[in-house]
Symmetry: C2
Subunit: 784 residues, 2 copies
């Protein structure tokens, strides 16, 4: 058992009723394809933790309130909307509605299969009056037909004899009641009933509803069609209202027979297309899905996933819980990014309304490295979204008095929605993170079209931001003052090392891109003088270092700040931000999440091994990991510094964050960046994979508890596998051309299979975490 | 003319109708006694800029909205309430209401007399139907009977013959309609009709209304009584409703005669007393006022003011506009502080609803020095208010994880109301400013009772705050990180010099107070170890200095920050905070208001003359003075550094800020701190008065345009006058014991009259202000 799920390398099974855990399981069992997201709620709609049907990019707008307004504060917030729910299939057994809060569940389990992509559910239920039925459902959100989801729903009477009257109601339901999660009455009002009906139509087994949001003016269409199988005596009826379309199927079914229903769902949304156009679009999607058929959709899904696992699988021998969690994480990252097609990848994917459905830097820094090396076209699509928002980012930079593009801290449509500027607007590093992801994608794919059409512009516009944000000072070189780095317990500081190193890389990558694409650069107005500006700024970049302590300062002055009183901080006071004011967190040496340590991962080329070891130990003792963005990175650097068992522990924390609900909020959605961080912990941590300057290198080493780790990657069109055992590593070319890499600093060409010895790890004193903030796992690692 | 007022050394007269300027004149003509404030609106209620009747400390509460909440954010805001308006006396001439928007004003002027304290008004008006009357009114808010205001109102027909029917309505009006000034609909709602009627009664010529606020639950009572004189044919009627009490007086008055009405007003409020008790209180106040009578009230007022001017007058020869403005400023400071009696002195006094009626550090740093040396008992009362709020300040410190007392950035009742913590909570210097005011008051009065009962506790609790806010660091000594100094264009910085020096003084003064009052200190739990902690922290206080530039850094790193592009900043972009984001202001070398320069005034003992000159020039070039708290301080340091004409210019700006409406907001109330800053510019600037360590010293010098400046002060029970001419200074003992001071560093005993030569000023290159931000005056200085 892991977090309540059965241990299985390819499946997640939950056999408990545990209705108080519905929020959690709905998130873990969410199905998505990057465009449509369906939370794993029960077919019958209730009981429910949090119903959720999301379309990537579909949001409602609301005013942001400020008690004291400031120039340039964003005026409008955006919140993901729970759109028309097509998941609901209600069942009446004789005159009793199937509801797990009543009657008796004789048998009940739900299973997510990571190879088929099917969420299945089997419930044997005895109604309060003693009638028994078995309900079996299977649900998919198609990875091949992006506008389509489908449910196969089977009811069988399992009484000893006789026949049972069954009434099945299959709904499209808009403006579903949802428990409000906000303190702000105006936001709650905006989201209470966000959709206005525009068009409804039902006929035969088909129905369509078109709605529009009140403030943001976005239009959504949802359609359903059905195939019904039952031996005889079937009555169907279809009705439609503004917010509800309902197919009702009634049948008397004898023991040994079944009522089978396949429900096809089509979804679409647009900010510009008309209601008739949108209706046509979803009806066409339905027609396609019916043409493919349920079995066809399953076959396509399996084939898609087989290909994904060939490219991306991670194998762990010696920690079954971790094995399961890592595959689940990869599956959800795929689901978040697969068919986004120029929409953002939100922090929670499409698994819940957490963070209001916003996308953050998490995407570029944590999720895109995974996609770049496993589903590169998904990484490209996510970067295309950023490219499409350049005009908004340029406008934002102008408001802030800067040139280039200032990408938003949090957004759905590309407009800044962060209402607290010290931890939002000031976190300019998001723009360098995007540039980093662009450079990584290009190096891993050599995608010249992207480079010319989108990548270069992204690099140039972000480089321009840095050139205007920083300045040359006679004291210290090129400084970037008054910004916030990744650590959200420190804000608005000078010369954050992470930001400065990422900005440095940003400017150097912009130079390279401009040189690769001279006509694009000319079109963007890049001059030799501007290139020289970037080069000079990059060369003179200030990187504060504390000579007395021999460590880098996370930002100017950091190591002079007061130490946090970890001994005097009880465990229940974490996360600290809920129990201490920002002012006190900001001014002390307490780190929410890897910041300098993340710089040592992504810009490892800027540190000596000795600096890395000293810095890691220093910041390890001050990092409380109140963020899910940290454990994976701490694993990576722990591994590099030779602390392999610690790396294993952080890897497990990152991988199990959601399964074990370490942050007590998985009900609002999964932490995509933490799942991605677990992959990074394996690949960049245990595998030692780095891609500085586009050069792929590995430095594999195993912790003591693992017998074997193998992972796969795509690189420049080839697929490779790296297999690590204690003492040696085997590199395999799975498909494509040979790939040149380094193994612990030595050049290696991967062609066929290459086995190499692993040198002994560096030896440094074991670092220690703040009291009580050691890596967490909650359940025991190991066998089933 | 100065800002539209006639030039006169003792009077402000406005002879223009200029109905669009009513906001302004209502503020300038406001009458107050520290308890009651009446804006100078017309008797007839309309037209009106902003009606306003305030009781010090009386507020309504409302929720503070946050789009993103943080731990420790204040949840409730407070806003001063326009209470029951007793100023209104309406007049019907035949059947036409006197309204200056209609008919014709043949003659109209309003005059505030600074020696009598009377606001008088004479209007000769011709109604639309041709009837002419003269209305003469006189209004006072008693400085001797703090619950009382009174109006003497006379109407005379001035037609050539015949008699005129006059109807006078004298009102008490609650929940007066007011144009909303807030963006927040919830705040607007809370303040739309804040008072709920609890009790009403009217009989004869008397009426009383008792109301209560909806949220804060404060209760207010207003009562009126009248004396009426008219030869014959009088009809009176009195009515009362929830929100209105009205005495109606009708008479037919022949030419050559008059209808005379004296209206007595009594006000009181309480958070605890019952409606009957409060009613009794205001009726008793009325009885007292009627006993004294109108003429008696005027005589008391004159005597009170004669004594004030003997103690406090400032004379200027050579700049009539400045002479008038300085006396007006002193008068308003007196009105703000005179009878506050343990209530705060708000930033706007009781002259308008600006800053929501909140008190800030302005009071202690700018207003209390004036009161300490002119009306010391008013300074004591204001500090008593702070003392009474110690429990709230202790609780706030606990929320912030600190010991001692953290006084609020802005408040009416002592609870923090600042919704933007980087410029609120983080500005901890307010607590050191209070300590500074305590130390100054004690040194200037040797008030041992206050010292033992209140002062020592204020010093000890604030010293404790600093001990817990700062820390000893091996790099730099005792640091105070992550706080905001006076300059609001720089926030959340390390080692702000102003803050650190004021904290240093705070801790040293606490030690002295504890040593003066050992039993009090013991009662407060002060141990020898704690005293040692304060001494060590004070001795090791970090004061950042830029060796390369040879100037102090306003805060750590300030002089490495990017310069503001003053050349590229158009004049219409000031104040900068309305046109640039905080993030960009905070990270650059642009200073809103004197910060390091204020440190050089209040802690001048911590700088060498050479440092002062270099620092002044450096910060002068970077200070935009978008705050009214700056010009006075810049004048003080300009004078000390020998830039005497510049000091004169800054003095004029400070003094004329309100009369000339330099910040375009005087309609919301006068800037008490700017008026006080003007006094400081004279006394500490031209007079060179300092009180470091309680030792009074002077260094008088005149700018070229002034022939003579004389000012008076109280010190340890004596009154002195300092008279400065070009080349020499005369010190006079006005009353009391001889006073020991220094004159340009030489000890002098003021006894009788002492004349001394003035040495030549130091010579430094003329500093320059940012482009377009030189001192402002708007109208020409000089003769009438």
């Amino acid at each position: 058992m892991s977090g309540g799920f059965d241990l299985d390398p390819w499946r997640l099974r939950w056999s408990d009723l545990a209705l108080d855990q519905l929020h959690r399981t709905e998130s873990v069992f969410a199905l998505a394809n990057g465009h449509i997201g369906l939370r794993g709620s029960l077919d019958e709609g209730e009981p429910v933790g949090l119903p959720g049907t999301y379309l990537n990019g579909f949001y409602e707008e609301h005013a942001l309130p400020y008690a004291e307004i400031g120039y340039g504060y964003p005026e409008a917030g955006q919140t993901v909307v729970n759109v028309t729910d097509g998941k609901i299939i209600r069942l009446l057994v004789e005159d009793e509605p199937l509801d797990l809060r009543y009657g008796r569940a004789l048998h009940h389990h739900r299973t997510l299969d990571l190879r088929t992509g099917i969420l299945s559910r089997v419930t044997e239920w005895e109604s309060p009056t003693g009638k028994r039925v078995r309900v079996s459902s299977q649900r998919i959100v198609s990875l091949t037909q992006r506008a389509v989801a489908a449910i196969h729903y089977v009811v069988e009477p399992i009484d000893e004899s006789g026949q049972t009257q069954l009434v099945v109601q299959s709904d499209l339901l808009a403006n579903e009641p949802i428990e409000s999660r906000t303190r702000d009455p105006r936001v709650a009002l905006a989201l209470k009933s966000p959709l206005e009906g525009e068009f409804q139509r039902a006929e035969g087994t088909r129905a369509v509803l078109v709605h529009r949001t009140r403030q943001s003016g976005l239009r959504v269409a949802a359609a359903m069609d059905h195939e019904i199988e039952v031996r005889d005596g079937l009555r169907t009826d279809i009705t439609v209202e503004d917010d509800l379309a309902r197919l009702t199927v009634a049948a008397d079914v004898p023991v040994g027979e079944a009522l089978r229903l396949t429900k096809f769902l089509g979804y679409g949304w647009s900010s510009t297309r008309s209601a008739p156009a949108l209706r046509a679009q979803v009806e066409a999607a339905l027609a396609g899905a019916r043409q493919t058929g349920w079995d066809g959709l399953l076959a396509e899904q399996r084939a898609y996933l087989d290909d994904f696992w060939e490219a991306a699988d991670v194998e762990i021998d010696g920690d079954d819980e971790l094995q399961q969690a890592l595959r689940l994480g990869l599956f959800h990252i795929l689901q978040a990014g697969a068919r986004g097609e120029s929409r953002a990848i939100p922090g929670k994917g499409l698994t819940g309304p957490g963070y209001d459905g916003h996308a953050f830097w998490d995407t570029e820094t944590f999720v895109l490295p995974v996609l770049t090396y496993t589903v590169p076209e998904a990484a490209r699509d996510a970067l295309s979204w950023r490219h499409g928002t350049i005009p908004l980012a340029q406008a934002r930079a102008r408001v802030l008095g800067k040139t280039g593009a200032a990408f938003p801290w949090r957004s759905i449509n590309g407009q800044e929605c962060s209402a607290y500027w010290p931890a939002g607007t000031a976190a300019f590093h998001v723009s360098a993170d995007i540039a980093d992801a662009v450079a990584r994608y290009y190096a891993a794919t050599l995608d010249a079209d992207f480079d010319a059409e989108q990548g270069t512009e992204l690099l140039v516009e972000t480089a321009r931001l840095w050139a205007s944000l920083g300045h040359h000072d006679p004291h210290d070189g090129f400084r970037i003052d008054g910004v916030t780095g990744p650590d959200e317990y420190t804000a608005v500081v000078d010369n954050n090392v992470y930001t400065n190193l990422m900005a440095q890389k940003n400017m150097l990558e912009a130079i390279k891109a401009a040189e690769r694409n001279p006509s694009v650069a000319a079109h963007l107005g890049v001059t030799p003088e501007e290139i020289e500006t970037w080069r000079t700024a990059a060369n003179r970049m200030r990187i504060p270092f504390d000579d007395m302590l021999g460590v880098h300062q996370q930002a100017e002055g950091f190591t002079s700040h007061e130490e946090w009183d970890f001994e005097g901080t009880p465990g229940k006071h974490y996360p600290l931000l809920l129990n201490y004011p920002y002012f006190d967190l900001y001014r002390k040496q307490v780190v929410k999440q890897a910041d300098l340590v993340l710089a040592m991962h992504l810009r490892g080329d800027a540190f000596t091994p000795e600096q890395k070891a000293r810095n890691f130990a220093y910041y390890e003792a001050r990092t409380v990991r109140d963020s899910s963005l940290s454990a994976g990175t701490q694993a990576v650097l722990a591994a590099e510094c030779g602390h392999l068992d610690l790396a294993h522990a952080y890897l497990a924390e990152a991988a199990l964050t959601d399964l074990n609900d370490l942050h007590d909020n998985v009900g609002n959605g999964l932490h995509m960046a933490s799942l991605a961080g677990a992959w990074q912990a394996v690949v960049a941590g245990l595998g030692g994979m780095r891609d500085h300057d586009g050069q792929l290198s590995f430095a594999p080493r195993l912790p003591s508890a693992l017998a074997r780790v193998a992972f796969r990657m795509c690189f420049q069109g080839s697929r490779i596998q790296v297999e690590i055992t204690q003492g040696s590593a085997v590199y395999r070319l799975v498909s494509g051309k040979p790939v040149d890499v380094a193994h612990h600093g030595e050049p290696v060409r991967i062609e066929g299979e290459v086995a190499l010895d692993i040198p002994a790890p560096p030896s440094h004193p074991a670092p220690s975490a703040p009291k009580g903030r050691e890596p967490r796992r909650r359940t025991k690692a190991g066998g089933s």
